[in-house]
Each structure stands twice: as structure tokens, then as C-alpha cells.
């Protein structure tokens, strides 16, 4: 059965499209799931995604992925529009609500384009063929004589043309051609794919009309601000809200139960102050007096925990990849190099703090939220309020940044819980302090690396061990190993070393741990690419030449993998030729080796593949005699396969350099007796225009390979490249983040 169907005359389209609109419905989920996901009780076909062409020529495309600044909401409709050969200025994008029929809607893992590129092409191309058939029928000519130009079908021989709008009513009555008969454009025919189209929402953003979660409103809504327990898992012993209730605008207070472990995406619990505006709710909170119960997580202290992690990293761990025999190599004697690396917790600190509006009415919830995962909103709220998932409607606003934080919908659940108690719509607004103290934190990590080095300076054996509280602790209180995160730059080292072993040691979680832009790749890349540079230095060799030797000859690196990963490896084999190419490209573009390092000036390099994209970054530093570090230039070369929106991809990698600079230079979350110490941008610091890299140059490798990730892969190589540059400039090797922890002079 074709996964694309003509949905023009289906009754359920009422309201979504005007009568006479030509609508194609598409199944995005595999055929085996159609019956579950795409038919309602009456057995009516319910497609997952719509492409509609109205009689006025407006092309409506449903975006089923969230927009948090990475461009998914623009890129996927651009692909549809290109194959449809539609005029982009006539395209309207409708944001989808959360619904299982869309399959995976969690906008994370840098996979929107790579997972849906082929399907978007197919639906666009199918629409184009049907419009051509409609025109050919009207003109009484062969379809083969017809072609298209943006939003028109053209018959050159008779110099006739008809607009898509004029053809929509006819196309709406046609059967859908089989996939095999629908030609896709050749790459040279693409009008939008690979070009510099702007974000669809650009104009709304610059004139302030764009609607973020913070801007969502419902009639009659109240505002809530919630005092959460300072330590994970604490419950309220007692509280006094007398002073809070005296604050002008405050209506009442309500409690939210502390979750039962595992915390999953449930609210933390606490006392909510309900008011008729946001400010009053914030003020009321300041006047609350709460006595909190104890929590087993009050034992968590960052300094002590670091020692525990480092101690674990020196002990044998669970083997996650083994090649050759590192122990035999180490036993041979010879030159052994060891190093330990440490990286702290980080907070996401998206510019828009967590926020949501929800309305509970007659057993159903309608929510508006800046969420990366509207289905997680449905599941979480349904679970807590004991209603059906289908009775939770989650509208997705634009996200004021996400970086992984907004995959977790705890604040949306808070709004739904409060709305049920109040009988009115509620907007929950987190303060910046709430955002930083009660994040799902990027994990703290300790890494131990050891190499045996041969007479040529190349390693004959390389052991690497990583230890950190895993994201799995979100779902399982007993999770201590980071099984699911090993693919994030740890069990896939692409170096040509005869003996190699990667291990993972156990660690407990005492705060909520979550995904942050490029996730475990951040610390894994920091350790691996710092260590690679240390070996180059020890061998007294040029860092780029040494790195190319480590990567070794062009080849496909076979990885141990489960069935899903094997499938992915077929489409996206780990190809060292592509990794070498980005290294060589960035070396050339940065003028590597032309100016001598030292005396406060240096270049550093790191190359890391993540989210299937190959990235090499060179960072230039100047260190003055006060030890102040400036970054005049960053050069990044990347191979992400086929690119849809080139300028946006460059923007993502420019932004990744700044994201990398924040975590490398300034950002750190620490915990004392279970409570987070940082509060706001004064003590959780991010780079600003003056401290960020001055110039970032991004070079994209032209590639016909399938599309790979763009949002995250720029981040991991930045910190090691910067630290390698600092070593080149000063001779000082730093093995922990951020730079504020180390005095350079």
C-alpha cells in the first residue's frame, strides 16, 4: 500500500482545509504501525502529515518537528516544496500537535532532516506528478510534454501554463501514483535544497510577533510560580503562606506532590503560588516559609563526588569495545602515557526558561508549550492525572532554545496539575533561578586514558575509561552504567591503533541528569582529543600530522553494534576518508603551521564525528601576560552529507563554537549537600559578545551522502581544540573544564 494517499475528500479534513483543496496525506510511521496509529475507531484513514494546495495557490505543509533554533520547521517543508516545485513564498507552515501517528516527534539527536528527508521528497514529488496529470488532462496532452516552474504546470509546445491553485480541484480527484512512477528531482534541479533560504519564522522573530511558550495565553488564565524542593526528592514537612497571601495579586497557594522515584519527567513537587500576574506570583513565592523533609540525595557534594568518580575511573570497568589486547601491550614495558580528565555538571540555560499553559476541563487537557517532545507531554500528563494520552492535546509553540532541556515536560505537567485543582487555565513560569537550580543537568564526568607508545611515537595500545552518572537514572534508580550513551563518542573511536579498549565505570546520580546539546560527546571528545594532542606533543610531532596518522588510512571502521546500529552503519558507515578530509580542509583554511606557536599564541585542533557528521575544528588563542585568553578565530570544516539549508547549517556551527566556548571557558554547576549552588547568569556564566570567539569560519564539504546531523556536532571538538591551542600557546596542559578553574599565570 502506498504510504501517500489522496485525502482531499475525507470528512475529517473539515476545518483544516477549505473545500476543493488538494490534500495529500502521508504515513510517516512504518506500514506495520498504520493500523494502530493511523486509523480511528471507524477505520477511516488518518494520514500522519498533510500537504495541502488550496485554490488560491496557498501550499500548506504540516511541520511535525519542533523549532528550537535548529531550523527543522523550515528545512523539512523546504524539501517538500522543492520536490513539489512550489513557490516558497506561497508556502504556509502549520505546526502539528503531539500525536503518536507522527511516529517520533522528539526533536533531539540532530535527526529531523536525516530521518525524514526521503519521505518529504517523496510526498512533494507525488504532489507534483498529480498536478502535472491534472494539467495534461485539461489540455488533452501527454504528461511527458509538461513540466513545472514554481507553482505552475507548463506546456511549452503550446505556451500554456496553469497555476497549482487552478489545478488543485482537479488534482484532488486523481488517484495517487505508485511510488515507482514518481520521479524525484536530480540534485541539479533542486531550487531550495542546499541553498541559503532563511528561516520561515525570520520576519516574525525580528518584529516581535513570533509566539514562544512564554507568549502563550488562554482566556481567564492564572499565573503560577513554584518553590521546588532544594534537594532532589525532598517532601514538604510544613509550610506557612500567610505572608505570601498578603502580596497584592496573589490568589492562593497549592501544593504539588513530590514524585515517586524514578523521577522520569514528573514534577519535582513543591508549593505553587497562584496570582493574577507573573510578578505577583514571583513575589508571593519569596514570602513563603517552607520546612522541607530530608532526602537521601543530601549527601551529594561536588568536591567529594569528584574524588569518587576519579577513583572509580582508575579501576577496571565494564568493557564496551575491545580490539587486540591492551594489557599485553602495556605489559611489554616501553613508554606509557597516562592522563585524567574531568568535566563538571552544566545547565542548559536556554534563553526562554521552562514555561507552559494548560487547561484541564472535563477530564481533558489542552496545553501550549515550548516542547521538544509533545508526545512526552501527553504521556506525562496522562500518567499523572490518570487520563488517556489521547485526551491531552499539546500545541507546540516556538521554543526559545531547547538544547535537550525541553525534551522533558515537567513544567507542562505542573500547569496541568494546577489547572485541575483550580478549574482554570494556568500558566507556569519558571524563573531563571528555577531553570538553573532544577535542570536535568549535563552529567559530571571523569575519564582515565592510558597509552603505550612505540618508537615512532604512535600508540600501540590505547585504553580509555569513562565514569559519570547516566541519563538512564532518569528512568531507573538503579542505573549506574551509561550503556545508552556509549555510542556518543566512546565505543566508536576511529583511530588506527592495534590494541584498544573502551570501558565504562559505575556512578550514582543525585541530581536529575539529562541530554544537553551533543550530550556525552562533550566530555568524551574533551578527553580523547586532549589525549591525542598530548601523545603528539610527547612524540614531538605536529598535531595535525599526528592526528592524521592516528586516524590512519581511508577505510570503513567496523563497529560492534546491535541490529538498529547495524542498519544505521549500512547507510552511514564510519568512513575515515571523510574524517581525514575535514581535518585536511580545516588545516588548510586555518593556515595551520604557517605561524609558529608559543609566546602566548597558538592553534589547536580536534576532529570528532557525532550524530553521523564529521567535524574538525581549529581554535586560535592569544594569551596575554595576565593569563587572559582571547579567541580571535575559529575554523570549522564539516561533512554532514547532503545539506538542506546551507546558511542555517553555518549558523548552527557558528553557534556551536559559542556554546563550546561557554562550557570550555566559564560554565560550571556545583552542588553542596544536595543543593545546586548557582542561581542566575551572574554565577552560571556564558560567553558574551566580548568574550566569545571573534570570528568563526565554517566550511561545508560538498557531499552526495545521505543527510546527517547539524544542530549538535559542532559542539564536541571545540573544548579540546581550545585547550590544545592553550597548550600550544603557553606549554600548559589543562585537563579539566572550565578554564576558570585554572590560573594560566
Amino acid at each position: 500500500m502506498n504510504n501517500i494517499q489522496n485525502a482531499s475528500r475525507r470528512g475529517f479534513l473539515k476545518g483544516a482545509f477549505a473545500a476543493g483543496t488538494f490534500v495529500l496525506g502521508v504515513h510517516l510511521v512504518p506500514e506495520s504501525l498504520w493500523a494502530d496509529a493511523s486509523t480511528n475507531t471507524a477505520g477511516v484513514f488518518q494520514p500522519d502529515m498533510f500537504l495541502g494546495i488550496a485554490s488560491d495557490g496557498t501550499v500548506t505543509i504540516i511541520a511535525h518537528r519542533s523549532e528550537m533554533g535548529c531550523g527543522s520547521r523550515t528545512a523539512l517543508p523546504l524539501v517538500v516544496a522543492d520536490e513539489l516545485d512550489a513557490d516558497w513564498s506561497k508556502v504556509k507552515i502549520e505546526q502539528a500537535v503531539g500525536d503518536a501517528k507522527y511516529g517520533d516527534q522528539d526533536t533531539d539527536g540532530s535527526h529531523s532532516v536525516r530521518s525524514f528527508f526521503d519521505q518529504m521528497r517523496q510526498v512533494g514529488a507525488t504532489g507534483r506528478v498529480m498536478l502535472i496529470t491534472a494539467a495534461a488532462n485539461i489540455w488533452g496532452v501527454s504528461e511527458k510534454e509538461c513540466t513545472t516552474e514554481p507553482s505552475f504546470v507548463v506546456h511549452k509546445a503550446s505556451a500554456r501554463k496553469l497555476s497549482y491553485g487552478a489545478l488543485s480541484a482537479v488534482a484532488a480527484k486523481l488517484p495517487v501514483p505508485s511510488k515507482e512512477t514518481v520521479p524525484l528531482k536530480s540534485r541539479s534541479e533542486w531550487r531550495y535544497i542546499g541553498k541559503d533560504n532563511a528561516l520561515f519564522d525570520l520576519s516574525d522573530i525580528v518584529d516581535g510577533k513570533a509566539t514562544f511558550g512564554m507568549d502563550a495565553r488562554m482566556p481567564g488564565m492564572l499565573y503560577a510560580s513554584i518553590e521546588h524542593p532544594p534537594v532532589l526528592g525532598q517532601k514538604i514537612k510544613s509550610y506557612d503562606d500567610k505572608a505570601a497571601l498578603k502580596v497584592r495579586g496573589v490568589k492562593q497557594t497549592l501544593t504539588i506532590d513530590t514524585f515517586k522515584p524514578p523521577h522520569h519527567f514528573q514534577p519535582l513537587g513543591g508549593v505553587a503560588v497562584i496570582a493574577d500576574n507573573t510578578w505577583a506570583a514571583f513575589q508571593g513565592r519569596k514570602a513563603l516559609k517552607i520546612d522541607w523533609d530530608t532526602s537521601p540525595h543530601a549527601v551529594y557534594n561536588s568536591d567529594q563526588f569528584r574524588k569518587t568518580l576519579e577513583s572509580t575511573s582508575r579501576q577496571p570497568g565494564k568493557v564496551v569495545r575491545n580490539v587486540g589486547d591492551v594489557d599485553a601491550e602495556f605489559a611489554k614495558g616501553g613508554k606509557i602515557i597516562e592522563a585524567e580528565y574531568y568535566t563538571p555538571h552544566l545547565a542548559h540555560a536556554s534563553m526562554e526558561p521552562p514555561v507552559a499553559v494548560a487547561d484541564y476541563r472535563n477530564g481533558k487537557v489542552v496545553a501550549w508549550a515550548p516542547t521538544q517532545s509533545p508526545q512526552a507531554v501527553q504521556e506525562t500528563i496522562a500518567g499523572i492525572l490518570q487520563i488517556k494520552k489521547e485526551d491531552v492535546t499539546c500545541h507546540v509553540t516556538l521554543l526559545g532554545g531547547g538544547f535537550g532541556r525541553k525534551s522533558k515536560p515537567d513544567q507542562v505537567a505542573e500547569a496541568a496539575i494546577l489547572s485541575k485543582q483550580l478549574g482554570k487555565p494556568v500558566k507556569v513560569v519558571w524563573t531563571r533561578e528555577d531553570d538553573i537550580r532544577f535542570d536535568f543537568f549535563h552529567s559530571v564526568a571523569a575519564m582515565y586514558l592510558k597509552a603505550a607508545v612505540g618508537p615512532d611515537g604512535k600508540p600501540t595500545a590505547w585504553l580509555q575509561r569513562t565514569v559519570y552518572p547516566p541519563i538512564g537514572s532518569t528512568f531507573d534508580v538503579n542505573a549506574k552504567y551509561a550503556d545508552d550513551e556509549m555510542g556518543l563518542g566512546w565505543n566508536n573511536l576511529p583511530f588506527d591503533i592495534p590494541s584498544h579498549r573502551a570501558e565504562n565505570g559505575p556512578a550514582d546520580a543525585h541530581v536529575r541528569i539529562g541530554w544537553l546539546r551533543s550530550v556525552a560527546n562533550i566530555y568524551h571528545a574533551f578527553a580523547i582529543h586532549s589525549f591525542a594532542d598530548e601523545l603528539a606533543n610527547a612524540a614531538n610531532q605536529d598535531s595535525v600530522q599526528y592526528l592524521l596518522q592516528l586516524i590512519g588510512p581511508p577505510r570503513i571502521v567496523r563497529l560492534q553494534a546491535g541490529p538498529d546500529e547495524q542498519e544505521e552503519q549500512k547507510r552511514y558507515p564510519l568512513d575515515t576518508a571523510r574524517l581525514r578530509r575535514v581535518v585536511e580542509m580545516v588545516a588548510e583554511k586555518s593556515g595551520w603551521g604557517k605561524r609558529p606557536n608559543g609566546k602566548g599564541y597558538g592553534l589547536g585542533i580536534a576532529a570528532h564525528r557525532s550524530f553521523l557528521t564529521y567535524v574538525a575544528t581549529v581554535v586560535e588563542v592569544e594569551v596575554d601576560d595576565q593569563g587572559q585568553v582571547q579567541i580571535p578565530n575559529v575554523w570549522t570544516a564539516l561533512d554532514a552529507g547532503t545539506i538542506v539549508a546551507s546558511d542555517n547549517v553555518r549558523n548552527q556551527f557558528e553557534g556551536a563554537a559559542n556554546f563550546g566556548a561557554s562550557l570550555a571557558l566559564l560554565s560550571e554547576i556545583t552542588v553542596t549537600d544536595g543543593a545546586v549552588n548557582q542561581r542566575n547568569f551572574g554565577d552560571y556564566r556564558l560567553v558574551r559578545m566580548g568574550s566569545a570567539p571573534k570570528h568563526t569560519s565554517v566550511y561545508i564539504v560538498e557531499s552526495d551522502a545521505p543527510p546527517a546531523g547539524a544542530g549538535e556536532p559542532g559542539v564536541p571538538p571545540f573544548a579540546p581544540a581550545l585547550y590544545n591551542a592553550i597548550h600550544a600557546a603557553t606549554g600548559k596542559r589543562i585537563r579539566e573544564l572550565p578554564l576558570t578553574k585554572t590560573k594560566l599565570v
Binding site: 531550523g71 507573573t278 542555517n648 556554546f659 547568569f681 559578545m689 566580548g690
Partner: protein
Amino acid sequence: MIRFKVNGKERTYDGDPEMPLLWYLRDIAGFTGTKFGCGMALCGACTVHRNGEAVRSCSVAMRDVSGTSITTIEGISATGLHPVQKAWMEIKVPQCGYCQTGQIMQAIAFLGQNRNPSDAEIDDAMSGNLCRCGTYQRIRAAIHKAAKELA
């Protein structure tokens, strides 16, 4: 009763005089182009103009708005886009876009005082405005472009 103007229109307010202008604009007057980011004048997302000067509306109490003229992103240009907004479009500055209205308001006020800024002057003027997506280099380029346009 506090009297003032927002985007050229007379307004009155008789609520809590300590309420920051930000929350008046967002929750009461409905000008949601001005964003909440930190509440402590540390991020610049809430930047508006008071008598033409850039201020952080999260840290300006309504009592200090009395008798002044406030301009938000919604009122920055009566006819189409302001040249700074046009430069933002042409350079394709935004990613998520949340901080950008504050950045634009800061840039407009800055260019009102300095029509031909250097990189260092731009960095200095814009360093109170955070962008977590990391569009700083594009913001600087857009300010240079707008400066040329305004000259």
C-alpha cells in the same frame, strides 16, 4: 496613578508601583515581543527604550516609568521594518530568536549614539545581551550593515 506612553500611546497604571515594566508590558498590556530571561538585568532579553535610551525592563519599576515614553519592539518602526531589523533579516541572524528583540532594541539605541562603531565598541555595547544559540558574530555583522544603511 502612573501616567506614561507606550509606543506613542497614553497609558495609565494603578497597580503595584514596584512591578517591573517587563511584567506590565507582557501580562497587562500584551506586548509580548519583550522577553523575560533572567529578572536581574543580566541577559538583556527584556530591553526596551525609555525616552530613547535602552533599559532592562525587568529591572525598571513602574514607579520609574511615570512621565516617560516607552518604546517596545512593536513600536520601533511605524512604517515597515527598521533598518536594524532589515539588517537582521539580510544577515539571517536568528536561530531560536528569543533574545533577538532585546538585541535589536539594544542595537538601535546604540546606533543612535554611535553611527560608525568599531568591532570593539559593538562588543562593549552588546555584551549585556546574551544569546545562548550563539549568534554574536552575526549580530556584530548586522550592526555594521545597519550602521552603513543609517549613515
